[in-house]
Amino acid sequence: MTDPHELSRSFRAMNTDVEAVVVTEAGRDAEAECALADVEALFHETEATLSRFLPESGLSALNAAGGRPFRASEWLFAVVSDAVSAARATAGLFDPTILRALVAAGYDRSFELLPEDRAGIPSPPGRLFTWQDIELQPATRTILLPRGCQLDLGGIGKGWTLDRVAERLSGFRDFAVDAGGDLVLSGRQLVGSPWTVGVQDPLAPSRDLCQLQLSDCAVATSTVARRCWLRGGRVQHHLIDPRRGLPSRSGALAATVIAGSAVRAETLAKAALLLGPGAGVRFLNEQPDARGLVVLDGGYVQRTKSVPAGPELPRVA
């Protein structure tokens, strides 16, 4: 095949569907296939390192070492370092130390294994730790967590992996990787126009709030409308507000952020969602490298500058 064309690879990782697409050309098919295989391997390797549900993962070993110095692998140390940086950049709204609160809310096993309605009333998580309790020693890749402090890297692991995948694919000008709706986008799609991304309406998942035409950026959405369960008759979800140690009730349903990296998009989206109506968009407007929108509980949409209003194209049926 000599004309420009796409090669893609789809697989499951991190409990979600992943699709990687590369626009390639004559003579580079084997190189592209190899890169796509590496993408899949990278997802599985990071999942094996960062999953709190795999007893043999590096993160599980770190969490079991509370109170003692833990020498981390290169990747685990890098992700925890990036998580601390993201926590600092969001004034603690993104915080990887919320694992105890997440478990207390009922999210104590892989999501597909959670019963729809869990018995019992959510128990308070006890002492709340913060990202400032994490000690990092880069020279020895040592991480020290206080006894009882455990990390959840679910809010950054996918973005971190997407950023590594983008590095792996950087030999190609045009590519896109979709990991459960979080995306990295480079160059253009095969038809020559920027990649098109619909932003799902959290109140009507078959429709899009708007369509974006994007190149050379990352997109992530945080929402309380997915990964929900009942406990004690009350809806719980996975987005813990670290200020209270409880699932967020900020008045925002979802936040979508476009930024220069997937880690930035993912962590800023969570921060904007936790800040809620008004403050979420104000916070995003203060970020020089980000823009986005926040969907409020009633369905009203607040946007930063340069995010299109309404449906530029009719919503997907």
């Binding site: 004309d3 090669l7 789809s10 995306l183 098109t196 009203y300 607040q302």
Partner: protein, 96 residues
């Protein structure tokens, strides 16, 4: 299990069609205002960039101007329907 796919480049007629659709979509953006749920400002958040004009990237400040300011008295404003466009976005950001 991973699946791989190969997609050819578009035929010329498809490129022409897509160009037309893009034009139609742009016109649709000009002709359509924000959706009702977008249009309600939150008075408590007046300092935020709430439903701000779009800097030329979609929507239309013209569509947001009340008809009484943009139409002579006694003239009924025209209601334009955006053209039907069937383009689907390649990806969807949906949260996880």
């Amino acid at each position: 299990m991973a699946t791989s796919k190969r997609r050819k480049g578009p035929a010329r007629w498809l490129l022409v069609g897509l160009s037309g659709l893009a034009t139609a979509g742009f016109l649709g953006a000009i002709l359509s205002g924000p959706r009702p749920s977008d249009a309600k400002p939150d008075p408590a958040q007046a300092s935020a960039e709430v439903n701000a004009p779009d800097n030329g990237q979609g929507g239309s400040s013209i569509a947001n101007v009340p008809p009484s300011y943009s139409q002579p008295q006694g003239v009924q404003p025209q209601v334009s329907q955006p053209p039907v466009v069937t383009t689907r976005p390649r990806f969807r950001s949906r949260g996880s």
